[in-house]
Amino acid sequence: MQSFEWVDAESVEHAVSLLGEGSERQPVVAKAGGMDLLDLMKNGVMAPRRVVNIKTIKGLDGVRFDAKQGLELGALVTLARLSREPEVRKRFVALADAAEHAATPQVRNAATMGGNLLQRPRCWYFRYDHFHQAGGDAVERVRSGENQYHAIFDNQRTVMVHASTPATALVAYGASVELTGPGGKTRVVPVSEFLLPPDMKRSTDTSIAPNELLTRVRIPAPAAGTKAAYHKQGERESYDWPICDVAVVLRMEGRTIRQAAIAMGWVAPTPRRAAEAEKLLVGKTLNEELARQVAKAAVNGATPLSKNAYKVPVLEAVVRRTVLAAAAA
């Protein structure tokens, strides 16, 4: 790891101005829990000149719920807290479960909501500095290489998948992020747009600007009758990255589904909404057969790579099970 400077940020403005001083040759990065940043620095994938510690900023670790405003999460809220926070558990169970099933207890204690969304892909080509130095067509390399954990949808231009699993739940809940730039100017971007298809050559897989700080995550208040479920399917249970993860949010009237959101993570460059499948649910009462059709629709159009065709049936099963679990919740 290369030597770097460390600065404790005193406020959002302070952090933003420090970040603004960075350049391509003298990168300055924010550090929240440091779980991803340190890893990338140790692997030689990132080599910042200056690290801005944002954990020292006060007031960025709040969890607030309001029936009108919905849920507001400070960027520094840890995954551990997210998984336990009563308001989150009660009203946004898919998010609480996603947080609970991410990583390991030790990692969740340090990992923050903001850092989680801004983490880089787990693609093993991306994580190895050798391939950053090697040059060549990164996508082609994966396409003809070991792509068992890569995308099965939308994988023409990029094959990597975004790593965040809570993002899958956030997309299903229609969450947004608040970004704060110079002069305290904020903008709010839906998570589904905020996340960009990962790219080896870019320094972020989101639309955050180098001089912006992710300050909050907001989720609209759920309508009455909202039910949800989340499932992350890894090869292992102890801790593992997913083959796929699925978040389902349903608005029900009695047994009738009025609105449905199905988000699927780790199968496309960014969490993918199963739009066709969602349509099948609206206005219906769920049963095994409908769940089967929905799952089938969700995987329709998959274009698996040479080694990840197995992900298609796995995803299909997980969608079916999670839809059923949501309705039964």
Binding site: M1, S3, R122, W124, Y125, R127, Y128, H130, F131, Q133, A134, R141, S144, G145, E146, Q148, Q233, E235, R236, E237, S238, Y239, D240, W241, I243, K307, N308, Y310, P313, V314, E316, A317, V318
Partner: protein
């Protein structure tokens, strides 16, 4: 093992056990006469305790201690004593090589080749030399742990060793800090001439594949096994066939046998490359001084480190001292000094300071060793009554740049079969070298063989256990053990409730399966042990052997304590120093079988000498002095009892000491060199696995394993169980998760970490129930054998057989990832 005669062919150069190859001059090795010299006839208990002990008479050396009764009648041996160094380990006080910090110590790092195959044209170290803190740079003139060209002329003109795998060390730096070493390494400019490479097994087998070596090669084994027999033909990257795995087989005529068979089962199996992933990576701290070289080594064999260093640096052994207080696992890959050690010693000599060279996780995965993969084609012919007629195996595997990709010896030794032909080939690829790995070859071989036998049982509508009973009839101790193990294991596992294959209707299918284990019973004849009693009543034992996590200190203390009527914790148990009497390698499951008889004999002699010194104190004959419960007394006179230390102090001596060597097994061996002797008996073991297969997601969960094992006399049942837990856990991990992924185009390992190299975690650990036999073989003064490898042999096969019972489909490819499982279910 059955099949004694097949091992005596002089061309069976890879001796059974695959040990250090020391070509014996002259004709076929005769099974040596055990223990020449004065002897007596001795009645000894023989058999399985609780299942019919009988008495046998053996010729034993005249001064051999009296035979031990079964464990229940002993005070220290056979008791579940907790590890003596457990607290040191869990509190972090135990000093592993990783923790060694010497005054003025330098940190070393190597330059790893980014190319999988290349000639090095030039190396420019000038910028690195100028880097602040750099104290020495070394460019290796040779690479260890790889196959060697039979005719080195092919590469004679080369200035530097050819790079044959990505990650191969090219140069190394020692610096004041790790950071400086890391930075300096990046400043070394290496000009490579890349050569075509091949990193996948089947690609490398093709005739026009790039050649990993320009000519035929040889691969000597390490003390941990592995290696390949010398002189085999090599075409391109394919070396073989070796049709005498570990010196066993072939026999009969398989083609004739197959044509006479009434049932033929044929299938292809595939297993993956598994890396060792010891908690503590390979490493060494070298301290070169004018008066001698001291090496702190994370090793499975202190002696092998000293031998390598003495040989490679042309030093007398007396000038090389090796210290290994604790070794954080090795699983077969930690023998000798390795490239890291070679470099550390060179750097230490150049810098005139101690140098620490410990691999990082990537280097460990890539260059620390691995279990080769395999493609095995099995053809089994049988009669309708289940008797085997012919077994034919063709196996290809790659150990990267090293040979040793066999599939074990089980085909020739486990079941009665008149016609056996195993042809195994090493296929070289541009990938890191394999090394012996917990039952090398046998794990892969059993995975296929035990599924094949199950398939035969199914075809013949026989119970798999009953079929084993019919075929596993060599009569050796391991065979007798397995018969008992099948019985008690079946009861515990609930075999009679086993349902027909594929009984569950829902997506989650459960099943029960079983498989047998067989491993070698090995002894290291060169083992010695010294026991001392000091005038203050301290008792100490010394052996250069090391502890790789098995609890060597504790069992050594237990055996010595027994003779003095003391507790294990009363004994100073000293190991891990080449200055002590030579101890065994922690490989081939041989520490306990080799060390404990030597230790007991030394302790026995020392105790008898002590008795003689104490006789005057007690005014009794030495024969009547007994040591029990921490006291000394005169036999039959409880009133004479005196605490041990007090009594010894009264005897008024400074120190007494006795040394003993490992005697031959009373029945002798099939085969013996100073390093390794092989019994005709093996070590058995059977395992039952219960699995749940999610047929929609392809997730396999091993819910329960019943592991029934024998290891001769268990010296410490708690530590033995611990070995078996470890074996099962590693076996499930191998069956379900572990796999090295190489990128074919670059030859780079993609998952050289513990994140993407998947190892079973706590929630994937099945409920493990261990049943341990106490089997007395009447072979040595402790009758102990080993268990570390046997515990890992049957697991993957048992899981696979359970998978079949659950789903009605065979899984012939490891690991059982969702991708492989879903493919098998479709098949």
């Amino acid at each position: 093992m059955q099949d004694v005669k097949d091992t005596s062919d002089p061309r069976a150069s890879n001796k059974p056990g695959g040990e250090q190859q020391q070509q014996q001059a002259g004709g076929p090795p005769q099974p040596p006469q055990p223990n020449p010299g004065p002897s007596r006839q001795q009645a000894l208990p023989y058999g399985i305790v609780g299942a019919g002990l009988k008495e046998v008479t053996r010729r034993v050396p005249e001064d051999e201690p009296p035979p031990l009764p079964e464990n229940a009648k002993l005070k220290s041996i056979g008791k579940p004593v907790s590890r003596l160094d457990g607290i040191e380990k869990v509190t972090g006080k135990a000093r592993y090589t990783f923790d060694v910090q010497l005054p003025g110590m330098l940190w070393a790092k190597w330059v790893a080749s980014p190319h999988p195959h290349a000639r090095i044209k030039s190396i420019d170290t000038s910028a690195a030399e100028r880097y602040p803190g750099v104290r020495a740079i070394h460019i290796p003139e040779r690479i260890l742990s790889t196959a060697q060209l039979r005719d080195p002329k092919a590469e004679q003109g080369n200035r530097y060793p050819t790079v044959r795998y990505a990650g191969q060390p090219v140069a190394a730096v020692a610096a004041d800090t790790p950071r400086a070493a890391e930075a300096a390494v990046k400043l070394i400019k290496v000009e490579y001439e890349p050569l075509p490479h091949v990193s996948q097994l089947e690609e490398a087998m093709k005739e026009n594949a790039p050649r990993v070596f320009p000519g035929p090669t040889e691969q000597p084994a390490t003390a941990g096994g592995g290696g390949a027999p010398p002189g085999l033909p090599q075409k391109g990257n394919v070396r073989g066939p070796d049709n005498k795995p570990r010196g066993m087989g072939p026999r009969g005529d398989v083609n004739k046998g197959l044509s006479e068979s009434e049932v033929v089962i044929e299938a292809e199996y595939r297993t993956q490359v598994q890396t060792h992933v010891p908690m503590e990576p390979h490493g060494l701290v070298a301290d070169w001084k004018d008066d001698g070289l001291t090496l702190y080594a994370s090793t499975q064999f202190v002696t092998s480190v000293r031998e390598d260093a003495a040989e490679l640096f042309d030093l007398p052994k007396s000038k090389v001292r090796v210290i290994s207080d604790f070794t954080g696992g090795g699983f077969g890959a930690k023998y000798g000094i390795g490239n890291y050690g070679l470099l550390a010693i060179h750097l230490s000599r150049k810098a005139g300071a101690p140098v620490r060279m410990i691999l990082d996780r990537r280097e460990e995965h890539v260059s620390g060793g691995n279990r080769p993969n395999s493609i095995q084609r099995l053809k089994l012919g049988a009669k309708r009554d289940g008797s085997l007629v012919a077994l034919q195996v063709q196996a290809y595997g790659t150990g990267g740049v090293a040979g040793g990709a066999g599939v074990g010896f089980c085909h020739s030794t486990l079941y009665e079969c008149p016609n056996v032909l195993v042809e195994q080939y090493d296929v070289f690829t541009n990938a890191g070298p394999c090394a012996a790995f917990r039952a090398p070859g046998q794990v892969q071989g059993i995975f296929a063989l035990e599924q094949t036998i199950d398939e035969l049982a199914e075809r013949l509508k026989m119970d798999p256990l009953a079929l084993r009973g019919k075929l596993d009839v060599s009569g050796t101790d391991d065979c007798l053990a397995r018969a008992q193990e099948r019985k008690v294991g079946a009861e515990r596992a609930g075999w009679n409730k086993r349902r027909p294959a594929g009984s569950d209707k829902g997506p989650i299918k459960r099943g029960l399966g079983f498989a047998q284990s067989q491993w070698l019973y090995l002894v290291q004849p060169s083992t010695a042990c010294e026991v001392r009693v000091s005038g203050d009543g301290s008792v100490e034992a010394f052996s250069s052997t090391q502890d790789i996590g098995t609890g060597t200190r504790t069992i050594l203390a237990q055996v010595v304590a027994e003779e003095f009527g003391l507790r294990a914790e009363d004994i100073g148990s000293h190991i891990g120093d080449s200055r002590y009497p030579m101890g065994p390698a922690s490989g081939g499951s041989r520490v306990t079988s080799s060390l404990t008889p030597a230790a007991r004999n030394a302790a026995y002699r020392c105790a008898r000498e002590l008795a003689a010194r104490l006789a005057p104190v007690f005014k009794a004959n030495a024969e009547n002095i007994v040591f029990a419960d921490g006291k000394v007394m005169v036999k039959g006179k409880a009133g004479s009892a005196m605490p041990f230390r007090e009594a010894v102090k009264k005897a008024g001596f400074e120190e007494i000491s006795q040394r003993a060597e490992r005697r031959d097994d009373y029945e002798g061996y099939l085969f013996k060199t100073p390093d390794m002797a092989l019994s005709r008996h093996g070590i058995g073991g059977v395992q039952f696995a219960e699995v749940a297969v999610d047929t929609e997601t392809g997730i396999v969960k091993v819910e329960r394993v019943v592991a029934v094992h024998d290891c001769g006399r268990p010296i410490n049942p708690k530590l033995t169980e611990s070995q078996i837990y470890g074996g099962v856990i590693q076996g499930v991990s191998y069956a379900l998760y572990e796999e090295r992924h190489l990128d074919a185009a670059s030859g780079q390992q993609l998952n050289a970490n513990v994140d993407q190299y998947k190892i079973l975690g706590s929630r994937e650990t099945p409920r493990i129930e261990v049943i341990l036999l106490e089997q007395l073989g009447a072979q040595s003064s402790t009758d102990a054998r080993g268990v570390a490898e046997p515990a890992n042999v049957a697991t993957a096969a048992a899981v696979a057989n359970a998978f079949y019972n659950a789903t009605g489909k065979r899984i012939r490819t490891l690991p059982m990832t969702p991708a492989n499982v879903l493919a098998a279910l479709r098949g």
